[in-house]
């Protein structure tokens, strides 16, 4: 599991124009970033294209990274996720490819975890925490995160009152936050 202070130093080097540091950040998180993109996009070619764009965004935005806003991993994966959502809104629509409700319905896949990014004990803990959420809460998290749907879109697509969707999002997110608070 990469050290968070080292991650911040890497971002500082990227902000100073060090392309090798970008490569080192890729060594740490490229695999999981690609895994996130692969899950959100229709195939490996799209994931590859968006991964390059996302790391270019990292290069351009490195100076704006603020440690108090969260870890480098969170920052990078958020950039990747946003890039994937943008891709789907533009090129994805043209290709008439969209993540279906069923495909996005679970927050966690059954795939094994990359231990370079999340150590296995911690991953078990994460799985247990997510597993304890009620199915309806897991579903709204997955639809919003992997599917990129807003709460109102989820309400319309699942024929659920908007207030119920909001309540599920709030409860699920607060439970994740409480249970996965950084104790390391």
């Amino acid at each position: 599991m990469p050290d968070k202070a080292d991650d911040v130093k890497l971002v500082e080097r990227i902000a100073a124009g060090d392309a090798e540091a970008l490569g080192e950040l890729y060594d740490r998180y490229g695999r999981v970033a690609f895994g996130v993109l692969y899950r959100m996009l229709p195939g490996p070619e799209a994931a590859e294209e968006v991964a390059q764009d996302a790391f270019h965004s990292v290069w351009r935005q490195a100076r704006s990274y603020r440690q108090e806003r969260g870890s480098v991993r969170t920052w990078l994966l958020a950039i990747c996720r946003n890039a994937a959502i943008d891709w789907r809104r533009t090129r994805g629509k043209r290709l008439e490819r969209e993540v279906t409700i069923d495909a996005a319905a679970e927050l966690l896949s059954d795939a094994k975890v990359d231990e370079r990014v999340v150590d296995s004990l911690r991953a078990e803990h994460v799985r247990a925490v997510v597993g304890q959420l009620p199915r309806e809460q897991r579903e709204v998290l997955a639809l919003a995160f992997w599917g990129g749907y807003s709460q109102s879109e989820i309400a319309a697509r699942t024929d659920t009152p908007l207030g119920t969707v909001k309540s599920r999002v709030r409860l699920a997110m607060n439970k994740l936050r409480e249970s996965l608070k950084d104790e390391r």
């Binding site: 290069w59 108090e68 094994k112 996965l180």
Partner: protein, 240 residues
């Protein structure tokens, strides 16, 4: 801290990216000025993206994706949030103490000398890596004591793996020694893979076979070489 009411109810949905545009913009503006909500948001996002990292598909990215990402940025301009016009305008607005021009002049001369030498080495290493047209390139991580060291293992489709390395020349009587790291029980065993007394940017052949997934390290050893590493690695990758 912002005097507005904290958007406690909607912050989780904001972290999840599940708000509609108007709501999202309002909360983004609040978070920018509220340290308390910034901290709450960081905790929500860290938890969410940790779960996402566990939920991501386990798949090997294309082998040359890293190389393409690095090459794209190797000679790119330094990323900047502000334009040069903004920076110049800001400088002109500040009063300048009398001693500053002299100090700046001296620093500029020193900086040109230092940056010039370092940039030249960095460019040479970059060019050497860019010249790799076939095979896989795996970066070696520098140790904390040698943050400027750079190294990569090149694993060609055909032929033997070799190293491209940027290290200073070893002290007199010493040499850089390469090691192939093989899994042994719960740890790794180091197999000697060649020594060199070269410095700057150089290519080093591995004299021991490198199996799939085995690691590589470089340590500083006596010029005659060692049977086992006697110092901490200056560059290493536990797996290739």
């Amino acid at each position: 801290m912002s005097q507005e009411r904290h958007p406690t109810e909607d912050l989780p949905a904001y972290a999840l990216g599940a708000l509609d545009d108007d709501e999202r913009k309002a909360i983004a503006a609040h978070v920018e000025t509220c340290a308390s909500c910034t901290g709450d948001l960081a905790q929500l996002e860290d938890a969410l993206y940790e779960a996402a990292a566990v939920g991501a598909v386990e798949i090997e990215p294309p082998r040359d994706l890293r190389t393409r990402i690095v090459l794209r940025h190797r000679d790119a301009p330094v990323p900047s949030q502000r334009s040069w016009g903004d920076r110049v305008a800001e400088l002109l607005r500040r009063p300048v103490p009398a001693f500053v021009p002299l100090v700046l002049g001296v620093l500029l001369v020193v900086a040109f000398a230092v940056v010039g030498a370092s940039r030249q080495q960095s460019d040479e290493y970059g060019r050497a890596l860019a010249g790799v047209v076939d095979g896989r390139v795996v970066a070696l991580a520098p140790s904390g004591a040698n943050p400027d060291a750079r190294g990569s293992v090149v694993i060609p489709t055909r032929g033997s793996p070799y190293l491209i390395v940027r290290l200073p020349a070893p002290p007199a009587g010493k040499a850089w020694e390469a090691w192939v790291l093989r899994p042994a029980g719960s740890g790794l065993t180091a197999v000697p893979a060649g020594t060199t007394e070269r410095g700057d940017v150089f290519v080093m052949s591995l004299t021991a076979p490198l199996g799939a997934g085995e690691g590589v390290a470089i340590t500083l050893e006596p010029a005659t070489g060692s049977a086992q590493p006697t110092t901490q690695p200056v560059l290493a990758a536990e797996k290739t």
